[in-house]
Symmetry: C2
Subunit: 303 residues, 2 copies
DNA sequence: TGAAGCTGATAGCTTCAGCCTATCATTGTT
DNA sequence: AACAATGATAGGCTGAAGCTATCAGCTTCA
C-alpha cells in the first residue's frame, strides 16, 4: 500500500523538480525525501523521476501520476477541512424524523431561524409513524426524532420534552356544540368522534378524551391524515379533535367547519425531542431543542 | 496528517459496522484497528463512530467522511492500477517532437500499426525546427524527437539512426532537365535552387548539393514550407529539391511540376530518433524505433 | 438471576518504518 | 584542477503500528 506521505513527497518533487528544495518545502531532510520517492517507485513498480546528477525530470508516467497524486492530496485536505468545519455545532447533515401529523405544521415555525443561525446545517427529513421513527432512531437510520409521548423507560434514549400541544374540537357547521365559544370535555358526552389510525400520536389522547368525556370512536370511519379528517368533518360525517398547530395552520381558515377550544385543562399531546443517549452530538441536539422551544407559536404550551 | 491506513480502516468499519469483522477484512487485529480509528478521530478532532458496547453506528459527520474516504481510496487504487498498467511497454503518454518537413509524411506510415499494437499509447505531437526540438527534449518538455542529422557528440543523448531520405529534383514544366528520367547531381550546375529557411533539416543537404554541383541558392526567394516550395516551383520561379517522403505523399500527383530522382549516390538527409540518455523508458524507445523502421515506404533507405 | 458469549478498549511488548546527521559519488563550473 | 551543487548511501535513533492477552460493559438464555 502506498502512503499519503509518499504522494506528498512525490508531489513536492514533481513541482520543484529539485530534491533539496522539495524536502525543504515539506520540512524533511533530503535523504528522507529520497527514501520516500524510492519506496513509491518501488511499490508502484515504475520509475517516476529521471535523475540526472544535475537535475530532475518527470518521466511520462510520472507526469500522469503527479497529477493524480495532487488530486488525491487535494481530496484529503478537503476531507480534513470538512471535518474541521463540522466541529461547529449544528452543521453537516442531520437526519430528523417527525410525525406526519406534526412536521408540516411545526417545522415552518423554526426552520427559517434554523437556517439563519446554522446555514451549514442540512436537514434530511423523514415522516413516519411513531413506532417506525423509534426503530429508525435506534437502528441508526435517523439521528433525531420529534414525536409524541416518547418512551421514558428506555435508558438508551435521551428524551427532551418540548411542549404540550392542545387539541381543539372540530365540528360540522350547525353542530349542536358550535354555539359555544369553548367546550368542556364533558360536552362531548355521547358524541361519535372520527379518529386517526394508530401511530400518529393523536389517536391515543383522543381515545383518552373519549373515555373521560363519555364519547366514543365513530364506528365506521377511521381517517389516515389530518386533512382527510377535516374534510370528513366538513361533510357532516361527525366531530373530531385536531391538534393546535394543525388548527392554527390549516383549520381556522376553513369555513366548512367550526373549531372550538377546550376549557382548561384542555386535552393535549406532549411533543418530545428524542435521540440516542450514546450519540456524539448530544450537545448540538440540546441546542436544537432550545431553538425549537424558543420559536413556538402561542397555541402550544412550552414545557 | 492523516494516513491512508486510517482511511482504509475507517472505511472498513463504516461498511461492516463491526470492529472485529472489519479488522478481519483488512487482515489486522481488532486492537490495531481500534487504534487507527482513534487516531483518525483524534487528528480530525471529530467523533466518527458512535460506540455502544453492543454495536457501532456512524455519526452524521462519520457518514459524510466515510463517503469521502471511499472516494480517496478509490482514487489511490486507480493510481496504483494505472501505474501497474503503465509498465506495459509503449503505453501512457509520450511526447514526440518532429520536424515540420517530416511529420505529416512519415507518421502516417507507422501510426496505424502503432495504434494497433499499442492501443494504450497516447502520442502528444509537436512540430518544431530542429534547434527547438533539441531544446525541448533536453529541458524535458519532450520525451522523444524525430529529426535530421541529430548531434552525435552530445553524450546526454541517445541517437538511433532510422533511415536516409533521398532528395528529389523538382522542376517547373518545360524545364531543360525535365526531359531526363533521372539526374546526376552535376546536371544542376548553374541552376538557382529555391531553398527552405533554416531549421527543417533540408536547407543544409541542399546547400551541400549546390556546392557539389555548382548551383546556387535563388537570391530572392526562401520558402517556409514544402507546400509553398512546390507551389513556387509550379509558377516557374525556379527548381528545388524535395525529400522523398513528401514527394511520395504530395508531389508525384501534382501535374504542374516535374519530379525526377537523382542517380546514386543521391543527395539525402538522415533521419534519427533521439531521446535523453537518462530516460527511464529507453527500452520502449528502442521498441518505438524498431516499429518505425519496419514500416518505412520503399522511397527511403533503412539504416 | 447468574453464567456464557459478544462487543470494543486497554496493556505490554516487539518490530520496523521513517527520520536525522554525516558522508559519498558524480557532474558541471570556474 | 579545484570547487560547488546534487542526489544517493550509511549508521543510528525514535516512535508508530502491529500482535497477544486481558478487561469491562452488555445481552442472552438456561
Amino acid at each position: 500500500m502506498i502512503t499519503l506521505r509518499q504522494l506528498q513527497c512525490f508531489a513536492a518533487v514533481a513541482e520543484c523538480l529539485h530534491f533539496r528544495r522539495a524536502a525543504e518545502r515539506i520540512n524533511i531532510s533530503q535523504p528522507a525525501l529520497s527514501a520516500q520517492i524510492s519506496q513509491l517507485e518501488e511499490s508502484l513498480g515504475v520509475l517516476l523521476l529521471e535523475r540526472t546528477r544535475r537535475r530532475v525530470l518527470l518521466t511520462p508516467i510520472g507526469r500522469d501520476l503527479a497529477e493524480r497524486a495532487n488530486d488525491i492530496l487535494k481530496s484529503v485536505s478537503d476531507l480534513e477541512e470538512f471535518a474541521h468545519g463540522a466541529r461547529t455545532p449544528l452543521s453537516g447533515t442531520l437526519r430528523l424524523g417527525v410525525l406526519r401529523t406534526l412536521g408540516p405544521y411545526l417545522l415552518p415555525h423554526f426552520l427559517p431561524e434554523m437556517r439563519r443561525r446554522h446555514p451549514d446545517l442540512k436537514l434530511y427529513l423523514r415522516e413516519d409513524p411513531d413506532d417506525r421513527l423509534l426503530d429508525e432512531l435506534t437502528s441508526g437510520q435517523l439521528d433525531l426524532i420529534l414525536m409524541a409521548s416518547a418512551p421514558r423507560n428506555d435508558d438508551h434514549l435521551t428524551v427532551v420534552p418540548l411542549f404540550r400541544e392542545p387539541l381543539w374540537a372540530v365540528l360540522p357547521l350547525g353542530h349542536r356544540l358550535a354555539a359555544k365559544d369553548s367546550l368542556a370535555q364533558a360536552d362531548l358526552a355521547g358524541e361519535s368522534l372520527i379518529l386517526l389510525e394508530f401511530g400518529d400520536g393523536l389517536r391515543e389522547p383522543v381515545l383518552a378524551l373519549c373515555h373521560a368525556a363519555g364519547s366514543r370512536e365513530h364506528a365506521d370511519f377511521r381517517a389516515t391524515s389530518l386533512d382527510s379528517l377535516r374534510q370528513m368533518v366538513a361533510t357532516g360525517l361527525g366531530a373530531t379533535c385536531l391538534p393546535a398547530l394543525y388548527v392554527d395552520a390549516e383549520a381556522l381558515a376553513d369555513e366548512q367547519i367550526v373549531v372550538r377550544p377546550f376549557d382548561a385543562p384542555a386535552p393535549a399531546r406532549s411533543i418530545d425531542l428524542v435521540w440516542r443517549r450514546t450519540s456524539a452530538r448530544s450537545p448540538e441536539f440540546r441546542l436544537f431543542a432550545e431553538l425549537v422551544a424558543s420559536h413556538l407559536p402561542t397555541v402550544v404550551t412550552p414545557l
